[in-house]
Symmetry: C2
Subunit: 146 residues, 2 copies
DNA sequence: GAAATGTAATTCACGTGTTAATTAAAATCA
DNA sequence: TGATTTTAATTAACACGTGAATTACATTTC
């Protein structure tokens, strides 16, 4: 096990890979004046259905302080609605509004086209394999302890 | 090519994978009061030798505005020195100081131990394969055009 | 050699990442 | 019941990511 050169290391490779993939989506998001994180939150919430904040944060890989700000912004723009959970005054229940759903549907064709283009350039099999390997990495590290 | 669910998509998988890997290094960095990005800049500069700002930014995957701030902070702490390039008053020449080198050397054993533990949990072969696949993804997307 | 163009670095503005502290409400315990 | 502890969400503080604008210096063009 050689000491990893910074160039060939997981942190760098994962960072670069993510940057270069996201770069393809950024023009689309910028045209609609939403951030990458706002888009992620919106999609996760739409796919999962109404969620509490903690659960949404976990599923979207967003930390609670960021989620608070993101929800605030998206509530003002009427893409997400916020309600209280019955029987527990601490919890917040979040849902996608009709306007939020409309935004998702508006962007979906382009989003798919962009993703498919990436997949095509990389190769569909490679793509599936990479997703599997990333999942395995996440699993191998996520047992909290070590 | 199915529309990617947010859960199984490259952006999410790359994000989560990177987060979970970096989480292992954060305690070490926090103990020395340096950020992940400062550490990356320092190591890239140490490995490559003195560089101009633009080149360092590229190699460390840091945008110029961030690099400006990072260099400022690390210059104040004497980990990096800043000089002018002869014959071109616009360019900045950056180098690791002795204190910077000492910091690197102090952290290197732990850094290697952390990385090796990750590699061991994931599997050395898988690890190399994953690095290869990530490099390929970066290459397949980095031809600017598409 | 002066004006126009190009480039490196910085600054600005705003949103997010991160950790720690705080607030509000539940749950637990005495 | 009342006090303590736990939990959900927010707030605070500071650093980075990002795109746009600015500044300073070089290069090109006329």
């Amino acid at each position: 096990m050689l000491p990893p050169s910074t160039r060939r290391s997981l942190p760098m490779a994962l960072l670069r890979a993510r940057e270069i993939v996201m770069a393809r989506f950024r023009p689309m998001l910028a045209r609609h004046d939403i951030t990458e994180q706002q888009w992620r939150v919106l999609r996760v919430l739409a796919e999962a259905g109404p969620l509490e904040a903690t659960e949404l944060a976990k599923q979207a890989s967003i930390l609670p302080p960021s989620l608070t700000r993101i929800i605030k912004a998206m509530e003002e723009r009427k893409f997400i609605s916020r309600g209280r959970v019955k029987d527990d005054g601490r919890r917040t229940r979040l849902a996608v509004t009709a306007a939020g759903q409309a935004l998702i549907e508006e962007l979906t064709p382009e989003r798919i086209a962009i993703y498919d283009a990436i997949e095509k350039r990389y190769g569909a099999e490679q793509h599936q394999k990479l997703l599997d390997m990333l999942e395995r990495l996440i699993l191998s590290e996520s047992s909290e302890g070590r």
